[in-house]
Amino acid sequence: MSSSRTRPVNEPEPAPEPGFLGRWLAHALAPPRRVHRLPDNRWRPLEVAFWIAPILWTLVLPSYRLLASQVFITGLFALSLDLILGYAGIVSLGHAAFFGAGAYTAGLLAAHGWGEPLSGLAAAGAAAGVLAWLSGFLVVRSSGLGRLMVTLGIGLLCYEFANRAASVTGGVDGLTGVAMRPLLGRFEFDLMGSTACAYSLVVLFAAFVLVRRLSASPLGLSLRAVRDNPGRAGALGAPVQRRLRAIFTLSGVLAGVAGGLLAQTTQFVGLDFLSFPRSADLLVMVVLGGVGRLYGALVGATLFMVAQDRLSGMDPMYWQLWLGLILVGTVLFARGGVLGGLDVVARLILRRRSR
């Protein structure tokens, strides 16, 4: 103890030295100090294994294909949020606006005769992208709580708008009559959900590859710089506002594609596609899985959806209680979410092995 050192009168007491447990925890929970490798975009074996799992699920569990397709779609939606949350540091409570915009676009096209899936999906992405680009101007300009409120406001406005335009959107009752033609001319959207499942998985994978490539590219690296220190990044010459808007637009496109997928695979669009609980649940999913890791979004979405499905018989009050406790616990003790926790465990094991 450094009690022998004289201290000025006003200096506060030094914090007591942490005991053994404290030091061990600090060590275990410290962010990894690994050597920063330049991104080389090679697929690591763990990643390959990760992607085999959904393929297996689709093949081996036919009666769960519907659940699988909805998990994949939510995964894509979560991925789009992680793009702005993890890579640009934008906290959004209104991301469902883009999801809903894509869903209504795809749904309306199909309901009015254009039932071709792939082009409908492209239109969904485009529409959501336009909305994201426009709102990006507002979102990127603000910061902190103001930005949060703007995203929330945009989400709420879109919801109100869709409710008002009930003659077009079906309002609270929902949009029906979404008649889909067979995918690629051959695969009907069947009752078992097989087509839906394969379709969503392929789209998810394609989007993931795109995003992964992006995050390792110069654009992705500059975004990380912006997230970590916008002032410095700007001083270094990165066009901060433009980059943020670009990523926000891309995120909107992906969210719109996810929405379009859900509309096409369930042949229905409801007002709840745009609702605040959807945005809030999404944020929880991404954080629980681990922000900024891309796979975290997928893991979080899977865990959340599967848990909700399995526990749906339980009184929702318990679901809320546990969700709340897990959130509080995650923020206080396990900032990296599930993947962050796995990281810690992995490092502990490796450290023990190397001894």
Partner: protein, 288 residues
């Protein structure tokens, strides 16, 4: 015509003053500790439930439960601040948002468990029910009581901030935390006390609001948007900003619904987005 407008404006002011009362705590928390506390709605809700419990179980009259709601929530706020909130002062907005959402979920689940998901009734004393005729205009007695109470509380708070030593410490800490600490102000204690005060006011507002806003477990989330709106548009860390914003919001909302009901909720959200774009720091924001 003018009489009708006055009536509508009065209703708006009553609604706005209730929002202001609850939002003060949020404004101070954000301005002083830079903490995005989305659990503030839950504090108001718990205050309401405390009031109902005291009325039903202990048989207390409504007016007696009000100071108890204030004290109860102030204590709870102090406890939470010391144990949980303190750890997250330096954390990013995301962590704070998620933490407070988590707390809100726990509060909602707990109240659902304890009270069920239905609306809670409140028995107002006789002299606060009905209307009173002033200059040919019928004003709701309870709403009049609300406005007067909030005005009194605001004056008291302003006096607290302007004339007392504690108030000076709060103002110093809001302006420059490091310098205030350097001058020997126990910033930690200031934080705890202000947080407690804010939570207590929220609880009081929740209890007062049962008759106007209703009370059920979803209260914490339902009105959160309005509280956040008041604070972001008004600007954190001050009284005048949120007061203006709350009154403006109340009047705009009520007048909008009276004169142009087709627009409905659009007006509020659109106004919020516009105002935030024009005034990113709020109308009169000051931050620590």
């Amino acid at each position: 015509m003018l009489l009708r407008l006055t009536g509508v404006v009065f209703d708006g002011i009553a609604y706005g003053s209730l929002l202001f009362l609850i939002s003060i705590g949020l404004s101070v928390t954000l301005g002083l500790m830079n903490f995005v506390n989305l659990a503030h709605g839950a504090f108001a809700m718990l205050g309401g439930y405390l009031c109902v419990t005291l009325m039903e179980r202990a048989g207390l009259p409504f007016l007696a439960t009000l100071p108890l709601a204030f004290v109860g929530l102030a204590l709870l706020g102090a406890l939470l601040e010391r144990t949980l909130y303190r750890r997250l002062y330096g954390a990013g907005a995301l962590d704070q948002v998620l933490f407070s959402i988590g707390l809100t979920l726990v509060a909602v689940a707990a109240t659902t468990f304890q009270f069920g998901s239905g609306q809670q009734p409140v028995r107002l004393p006789e002299f606060l029910r009905g209307q009173v005729q002033i200059l040919g205009l019928g004003l709701g007695r309870y709403r009049l009581f609300l406005v007067l109470l909030v005005v009194a509380l605001t004056v008291a708070l302003q006096l607290l901030v302007d004339r007392t030593r504690f108030g000076a410490q709060v103002r110093a800490a809001v302006d420059n935390r490091a310098a205030a600490a350097g001058l020997g102000i126990d910033v930690d204690r200031v934080f705890t006390l202000t947080f407690a005060l804010g939570a207590g006011l929220a609880g009081l507002g929740g209890a007062l609001g049962i008759d106007v806003l209703g009370l059920d477990p979803t209260f914490a989330v339902k009105y959160l948007v309005y509280f956040l709106l008041v604070v972001t548009v008004g600007g954190a860390g001050s009284f005048r900003g949120p007061a203006l914003a709350a009154l403006g919001l109340g009047v705009l909302d009520v007048a909008g619904k009276y004169y142009v009901p087709q627009l409905g909720a659009f007006v509020i959200y659109a106004a919020m987005v516009v105002l935030l774009t024009l005034f990113p720091a709020g109308l009169q924001g000051r931050r620590a």
